[in-house]
Every structure is written in structure tokens, then in C-alpha cells.
């Protein structure tokens, strides 16, 4: 799994590339929490993720909870069908703020 972090005007865009699974999810988690702890809004881009397992989703859940506590904007974008399945299984699709595009999130952020 590769991680691409991009600073935008009023948020940080973090994209994962590859598989977010048992071996890589702690890395993903660490980066998400780091961004939030710098008090920055976060958009997580999952469009290049070919596989995400429960540990990956658990990291997203934790991130979202922290963002809420710090009143930061948290968003997911580019969710593949496979990833959506994992979210749906735990009914998390109704919990996460899911955006269709980066622009939609930016509008929400502003």
C-alpha cells in the first residue's frame, strides 16, 4: 500500500493505493490520526484501493470518531464496490460521510 498526502487549501487529501489490510492498516491509521491531530480537515481517497478489510475500515471508523470530537470535516471519496460491500456489511455506509467527488467535499468544507 502506498500513501499519497496532498495539502489543499483548507483540508488534507490522503489517498491510499493498493490493499488496506491487516499488514498495512496500522500505517493508514497512523497517517489519518496524524493529520487529524494537526487539526486539519481530512478527505480520504479510496479510489486506488483494490481491497480493504475490516482492519482498514476500523481505522476509518476511529479516524471519523476523532474528527468528530475535534469538530473537523471528515470525508470518504472514491469508494469501490468491494470497499462498499465491507462498509455495508457493518451498516457503516449509513454512518460515514461519503462523497461522489473531491469537489463535492470542497463545497461542503467551505
Amino acid at each position: 500500500m502506498k500513501i499519497n498526502i496532498q495539502q489543499e487549501d483548507n483540508y488534507t487529501n490522503i489517498g491510499f493505493d493498493g490493499a488496506v489490510d491487516l499488514s498495512s492498516s496500522s500505517d493508514a491509521r497512523k497517517n489519518i490520526i496524524e493529520i487529524l491531530e494537526q487539526n486539519k480537515n481530512i478527505l480520504i481517497d479510496l479510489s486506488l484501493v483494490n481491497y480493504i478489510d475490516s482492519s482498514g475500515v476500523a481505522s476509518l471508523v476511529e479516524g471519523y470518531q476523532i474528527a468528530k470530537k475535534l469538530s473537523l470535516k471528515f470525508g470518504l471519496v472514491g469508494i469501490s464496490d468491494a470497499a462498499m460491500g465491507v462498509l455495508k456489511l457493518a451498516r457503516l455506509d449509513q454512518v460515514f460521510p461519503i462523497y461522489n467527488s473531491k469537489e463535492e467535499y470542497e463545497k461542503d468544507c467551505a
Partner: protein, 266 residues
């Protein structure tokens, strides 16, 4: 995705097993495709539970091979088997939760033993899986404080906590009321649809079998009678299968000599 479905997840070839001197399974051949739900059916003593034990790598067969995800478990090293087991989930008939641990600790156990994930991540994962089986908020309870149906569901949560590719259910609806049993069927279908798991269910409940099966394998006295789609099984004219489907006791013609010698033991 369509391409993947053609992959074979489980392949059993010429499996023969004994219990002591008694032959239990005789020449079993079985394949299960990836993402398929295979039901193994049969009366008591048919060998279906034994077949499951061997599929789980809990016994050493007399002869034959069992391939799970392409690897022959009859001659894997301890380490290879250990790695393979991370991709297998099993929901035992009685749940088989460790009674000394809470539900949450039980569900987390595979994670704790196999991964170095953060404590928080493991917590969330376990709770997520408990939500999947509708047991959210029960993680602090001990297994003894739960009903049979809840224990079974908690066992499913533990089995899927590592997101396995293969999932085995042993008599999922045994001892459950119809509503809970239907919920479990629903869950099995969802796991396959969402996670593309390959699922093997051993059961003798016809309704549930017909509802969830892609294919059904009927075992009888250690042999496979038939392994086919639900329709084909229903339309089969095999006497034993029909008696199993219609729940009629088998009325075989009695061999007088043999019967007499069985009774007298001489």
C-alpha cells in the same frame, strides 16, 4: 469478478477416512467454487460431520487429497497450515466460544494471536463484527450469560473477524427457533454476496438448505449420493435422496441372514 468466480476454492479428491478400523468416508470427490455456497447434507451417521472435520484439517485421512485455496492440506507444513488458517473461519455447532473470556475477547482472540494491530483497531473490528451479527453492545458479557442463538452468532462474529476467504458452518440452525435461524441464513447469504466468501454449510435442515444453497452435496453412509444444484436434487429419483427430502424413514428390504447374525452377534 466474473472471472474469479470460476476459481476452485475447495477440491477434495478420493478422500478415504477411518475411525479406528471403521471406514467412515469412502472415495469422496467434491469441488466448491469461489464465492459458492455449498450445503453438505445427510442423515446422522452419513459422515457429513466427519467430512467437515477433514475439510478443517482436524484429521489425517487414510488416503486422498484436500485442497483449500489451492493448497493440499494433507501435506502442508505446520507453518503453511498456520498461514492458511488465517483465511478460514469456522462457526461450530455449539459456538465453541472460550468460556473463560468475554464475548468481545473471544471475537478479538484471532486478531490478538495473529496480528500486531493497535488495541483500538482490534476493539473496533470486534465491535463491528458483533454489529454484523446483531450483537452490538454485548462484548462485555460472558458466554454463559448468552442464549444458544446468541452464542452461535457470536461464534460467527469470531469466525469472520479476520475476513476469511473460506467459511464453514456446522449445523447453523440446529437448536434455534425459526426466526433466529432465518436470520442466520440471511447472514450467510450476505457474507457471500458482500465479501465473496466461499461458504460450506453442514446441515440437515432442508428449508434452510434450499434457501441458501448454490449446490447441495448429499452424503449417505460415507459416499456422495449426489452433488448438484437445488433443482436437480429436488428432481432426483434416487430413493435415498427422496427419503431424506420427504423425511420418510428408510424401509429397506431386510436380508434375513445378515439381520439374524447382527442380532445374535454370531
Amino acid at each position: 469478478m466474473e472471472e474469479n468466480k470460476k476459481n476452485i476454492a475447495i477440491e477434495v479428491k478420493d478422500l478415504v477416512t477411518h475411525y479406528g478400523p471403521r471406514k467412515i468416508l469412502d472415495g469422496i470427490n467434491l469441488t466448491v467454487k469461489e464465492g459458492e455456497i455449498m450445503i453438505i447434507m445427510g442423515g446422522s451417521g452419513s459422515g457429513k460431520s466427519t467430512l467437515l472435520r477433514y475439510l478443517l484439517g482436524l484429521g489425517i485421512p487414510t488416503s486422498g487429497s484436500i485442497k483449500l485455496l489451492g493448497e493440499d492440506i494433507t501435506n502442508l507444513s505446520t507453518n503453511e497450515m498456520f498461514e492458511l488458517r488465517k483465511n478460514m473461519g469456522v462457526a461450530f455447532q455449539g459456538g465453541a466460544l472460550l468460556s473463560s473470556m468475554t464475548i468481545g475477547e473471544n471475537v478479538q482472540l484471532p486478531l490478538r494471536e495473529h496480528t500486531n494491530l493497535d488495541e483500538k483497531t482490534m476493539d473496533i473490528m470486534a465491535r463491528m463484527k458483533l454489529e454484523v451479527v446483531n450483537l452490538g453492545g454485548f462484548e462485555k458479557l460472558m458466554p454463559s450469560e448468552l442464549s444458544g442463538g446468541m452464542i452461535k452468532r457470536a461464534a460467527v462474529a469470531r469466525a469472520i473477524v479476520m475476513d476469511p476467504k473460506l467459511m464453514f458452518f456446522d449445523e447453523p440452525s440446529a437448536g434455534l427457533d425459526p426466526v433466529v435461524s432465518a436470520e442466520l441464513d440471511e447472514l450467510i447469504l450476505r457474507l457471500r454476496d458482500v465479501m465473496n466468501m466461499t461458504i460450506v454449510v453442514v446441515t440437515h435442515e432442508l428449508d434452510s438448505a434450499f434457501k441458501i444453497a448454490d449446490r447441495i452435496t448429499v452424503l449417505d453412509r460415507g459416499h456422495i449420493l449426489m452433488s448438484d444444484t437445488v433443482e436437480e436434487i429436488k428432481n432426483s429419483d434416487n430413493e435415498r435422496i427422496q427419503s431424506l427430502l420427504n423425511r420418510t424413514p428408510s424401509n429397506e428390504v431386510i436380508n434375513a441372514d445378515e439381520y439374524l447374525s447382527r442380532l445374535t452377534g454370531m
